[in-house]
Amino acid sequence: MKTVYVDNNATTKVDGDVLKEMMPCFTDIYGNPSSMHHKGAESGDVLKLARKRVASILNAQPDELIFTSCGSESNNTAIRSALRMNPGKNHIVTTMVEHPAVKTLCESLEKEGYQTTFVPVDSKGRLDLDKLYASLSDDTAIVSVMWANNETGTIFPIREIAKKVKERGILFHTDAVQAVGKIPVDVTDIPFDMLSLSGHKLHAPKGVGALYLRNKTRFSPFLIGGHQEHGKRGGTENLASIVGLGRACELALAHMNDENTRVKKLRDKLETRLTAKIPKSFINGDQEHRLPNTTSISFEFIEGEAILLMMNEDGICASSGSACTSGSLEPSHVLRAMGVPFTAAHGTIRFSLCRYNTEDEVDYIIEKLPPVIQKLRDMSPFWKEN
């Protein structure tokens, strides 16, 4: 069966070049980077190169990076470190539309006694900045705001937020898992204290991530163990994956222009044609400030899982903003926070493209999706023509 993979915000295919660089780490370069012998040194060298490459995509210093196992670990490390280093402060500021890696963590910290402000968004998914700034106080230990939303692709004005938060002397963290590799990121331009990224969102393998920690930021490790990562994260390095992440960052930089021109055009064509062909459909999110690869489209009066499974019959892989697919029963917290009505929130599909997608594939989706929507609407008790 033909496969058209447009679920790249969920995860990506490992790039062939990335895999090629990783392979020796399973066969020849097997030493422990901490070992004193030449096999250890060999591994130490590739680790160093990977760190330099990852630093490049952020315009950071290599020693400002901590390799982790995933984006979630990076987020947990950042937020928990901020709280531990500010024992007198009890307040966390984040948003209502964070990825569960931050949202669930903050909810869990609330149960531990921390106070949390979840800043709301408007119907376009734009943050209420006034509420954000008004919530800051001397008791605020950390502000954690995602750079780009995984469901709608909406990009927050992170430079402005970071500056305002830093003016108040408060630690600022951003979950940049969806941003890194898709849009330019420069830590010398924006005053983050911490930034999370994940390998498998940019064609590196699953199971590796990184936390950028600005030099001189006070820090307390999450995973306590050996002296790896300068004592900031215990555990033997996942060398092959880290090497993969390094190469993937290099490639992402090389393809950044393609992502923001050709891929963006494909995305625009996809959403324009689909919403033109399909009545009662609309695009979610801030269309002026959005990741170039992402579109979230609501189709009213039908349910997302059914759309996905029918698209899957045509080999199209996307994801839904509805919950039936994800084990939870409520529609996406992001769409609900934006006030997307229930008629549409349950029937929302996210398409997230990447540099491998072609115009033929986009045309294929434009051809295959409308009959799927029609078939399901014909079955729906709420659907009435016009």
Partner: protein
Amino acid sequence: MWDYTEKVKDHFLNPRNTGKVEQANGTGEVGSLACGDALTLTLKINSDQIIEDAKFQTFGCASAIASSSALTEMVMGMHIDEASKITNEDIADYLGGLPKEKIHCSVMGRDALERAISDYRGEKIEVVTGNVICHCFGVTDVDIERAVKEAKLTTIEEVTDYLKAGGGCGNCHEEIEAIIRAVGQGVDYEPKKPAVPAKLTNMQKIKLIEKVIEEDVRPGLQKDHGDMELIDVDANRVIVKFRGACASCSKSQITLKNHVEAKLRELVSMELTVEEAVDENRIC
């Protein structure tokens, strides 16, 4: 991805009997857009009480569509007495089983069938009263109690799989657990908190009180040549004055509590108390 059986996939991709039966004489509607699934089942039942035709319209996931499709196939040609014995498990079995998180799809089928048959029989569909326990999905203690008893559910997870109750914010887990415990011990569940409808603003509350008195209370009193006037609302104290025959009626205090207060509590807020204005000056 869900682990759906081939039969579920088949009924989802090639649903049988979609649409509405023309001249249906039994219709059952369950679910809502907010809940994420809804089913309208229409039946044509002949004079021998045999289901001659059945069609469905479903808004929902693959297993909701498959359950509805399966249900129409199952009941076609069946006597309604036999059809009314169909359980949600029968629907799931027909499909070769459903993932446990999707059991509520088969429950929705069973409920729609029950309502369609009641509709045919001309029975008034019982409006489920009771206290809403799960606010995310609008599930009451009566619903949960029934499900726990019928399906012998023993955990919150099972209740969620069955009714979706508890599958949202999770704030109702304690109460669901209390219902499971009560049923297990064979005692009636005593709600801890009285039913609280969605929070009203003061203005909304006063308007609603006015409306209820106007539409649900006064017409009844006027029939007996009495009447009543709303004087004031002070937080949750509703102050009224009886007029006409009521003003001199010895039973007016009973009317006040048993009728007026009960009605306002039912339709506005359980926290309300109704008092009669004692001092005429208050009217000014």
